[in-house]
Amino acid sequence: MSNNTGKKAHEPLFHIIKRNGLPFWKSWLIRILSVIAALIVCGIVIVFVTGENPLEMYKTMFEGAFGTERRRWGLMQDLAMLLCVSLAVTPAFKMKFWNIGAEGQVLIGGLATAACMILFGEKLSPYILYPLMICSSIIAGAVWAVIPAFFKAKWNTNETLFTLMMNYIAIQILSYFSYIWSNPKGSGKIGIINASSSAGWLPYIGNNKYLFNILIVLALTIFMYIYLKYSKHGYELSVVGESENTARYIGINVKKVIIRTMLLSGAICGIAGLLLVAGANHTVSSNAADGRGFTAIMVSWLAKFNPIYMILTSLLLVFLDKGATEISTTFSLNDSFSEIITGIIIFFIIGSEFFINYKIKFREKEVITKPETQETVKEGNEQ
């Protein structure tokens, strides 16, 4: 109506509106395009830094990740561990509980496992030792996660910062025990635990060190998929994530859901610690989690909290990490190169979400005000 008054209201060149539901294939097309755009930018960075042909570099990356049998197993193991931590943080995120303390929860779980192995490894029979390790790692991870959850539920204490601080407390506790149990004495490192007896080591399947871990994580993935999609718990936590008020209105006990979900989240982090310590490294140090607690957040978020997609997104991140490490060894660069590449690709994928959720609507071409259009407008006014 304002158009026919002659005074035109200022209309911006474009404005942004929310899309409601983009077709499945379109949203994935946008994501794939963003990854391609990111790879191009990374290519430019690579050329700038090394002066090599970027296609060659991507080939080197591929070699580094999949080149040999050993590398493939290493990739699978890293993929499984990252996926395991990602599975752990996912239910909490779906509830909009920003658990960035997975790092600490994994470490505490790993420390509990290591403690069992060191203290009881050669004294107890394996039939008692393994259950003890499993229980203590799960309990340790869950306790570490439930402390912030309790304060969040009770006083709405900011969980992002609380869980972040819990990471560092876990790291310091671990450093403390590294001195207590150091091997050789005074080195501040725990070293390989039970190297001679291999008590408490998770079993090798057909001579393969990592297969057991991979199978456990696969089972967890399926469990988490079902838990989130088909269980009542999964439904409740997604309602809490959407709107706490709605959840309260339909009779969900929000506090209970928060604490229960974080117990689960921490418990799975504890299992990740168990797998890392007993199944792969056979030792524990403050960088055992290797930043996975933080990377897992990106994995989970990029996969839209879907455990099956998370296999793909963690594959992407692990591939980038392995590949870029290969580049840095080939060209004797610093191995932090992979973090730069990962950062760039994540920026692009995060940015692309905007184009999936929103659409930009440009200002429509101004209508030339002919007499008859004014007539119709007038009619409209009279009505």
């Binding site: 972040l164 601080m165 990962t342 950062g343 905007f354």
Partner: protein, 326 residues
């Protein structure tokens, strides 16, 4: 020894103070930038790159230029980091936590990569390691009368200009929040962007401004660390977790830069206290290093249980604003 402890504590405090002042400004606009750790790395390494370029390309060394070039490089680097964060979270409305963590991954990687590869990339193989002692000395110029005043001179005047700048910036930020109209607008944006928008405040401009200025200030903390604390020697991961500690300090300071000054001194002291308690075993030292984090958690809990309105974080912290959302 107490004098030595206090001066060391204050030197530890300055990077944290820069980081927390920057982060407070960003958080006041409603954006929780978890990328501060990365921004501080970038601020540091860009300063190093600037200084390295200047030292290797100049024949006559000029102290003023030696300070200005790294300073500008550092400001530029951290401003770009802030801009990346702002574009993603303000314009593209990406999740702030995820973006911040990605920024940290990128920034720490960027710092370590160039720190480790700068010499190789420059093609100059004669230099064994990056030790920018000349630039560092220029940065560490102290007031001339500091030595003459004995203990007081050592306690109050023995620091470099960046240390005083940190405190001045914190005071300016406090004044800005509480006594200027623009500061009021910024707080309004952080508390309720929809209300601010209805009042005709340009929400996006404030968010961009706060994020970029906050990043620049945080980046100076990285620069101070390299040039001053570490004597111009870059060591990978040397900066450590100070960026996260700076975020912790924001809570400790209950979002007030002037409390942040005292808080940073306390944190600086807690950070190094294990070196000054005699007879601690190596293991026990690790337990003492926990102190800043435990204190932060206690503050976080106390603040949340008391629920005094002026002590709470900005109401819309962590939420992106979309005008057409209800």
């Amino acid at each position: 020894m107490i004098v030595a402890f206090i001066t060391r504590a204050i030197m530890q405090a300055i990077p944290l103070l820069y980081g927390s002042t920057g982060e407070i400004i960003t958080e006041k606009s409603g954006h929780l930038n978890l990328g501060t750790a990365g921004v501080m790395y970038v601020g540091g390494i860009c300063g190093v790159i600037g200084a390295f370029m200047y030292e290797t390309h100049t024949s006559s060394f000029n102290s003023v230029l030696a300070v200005l070039v790294p300073l500008l490089a550092s400001v530029l680097g951290s401003a770009i980091m802030g801009l990346i964060y702002a574009v993603l979270t303000v314009t593209l409305r990406a999740n702030q936590n995820v973006t911040g963590l990605a920024l940290t991954t990128f920034g720490v990687g960027f710092g370590n990569f160039f720190g480790g590869s700068l010499i190789k990339l420059s093609g100059n193989t004669e230099i064994p390691s990056i030790a920018l002692s000349n630039t560092s000395n220029a940065f560490r110029t102290t007031l001339p009368f500091a030595d003459k005043l004995g203990v007081i001179g050592k306690l109050l005047f023995s620091y470099s200009f960046l240390a005083y700048a940190a405190i001045i910036i914190a005071f300016i930020a406090t004044y800005y929040f509480n006594h200027t109209r623009s500061g009021l607008h910024l707080r309004a944006v952080g508390e309720s962007p929809a209300t601010a928008d209805a009042d005709g405040i340009n929400v996006s401009a404030y968010k961009y401004g706060a994020t970029i200025i906050g990043s620049v200030i945080a980046g100076l903390g990285g620069l101070y660390y390299v040039m001053d604390y570490a004597n111009g020697v870059w060591s990978n991961d040397g900066f450590g977790d100070r960026g996260w500690l700076a975020i912790a300090l924001v809570i400790f300071a209950i979002w007030r830069p002037n409390i942040g000054i005292i808080g940073s001194f306390v944190f600086g002291g807690l950070f190094i206290i294990h070196n000054y308690i005699p007879g601690l075993s190596m293991g026990a030292q690790e337990i003492f290093k926990m102190a800043p984090y435990v204190v932060t958690i206690l503050v976080l809990i106390i603040v949340s249980t008391r629920k005094k309105r002026e002590n709470l974080p900005p109401a819309s912290l962590g939420l992106s604003y979309f005008r057409e959302d209800r």
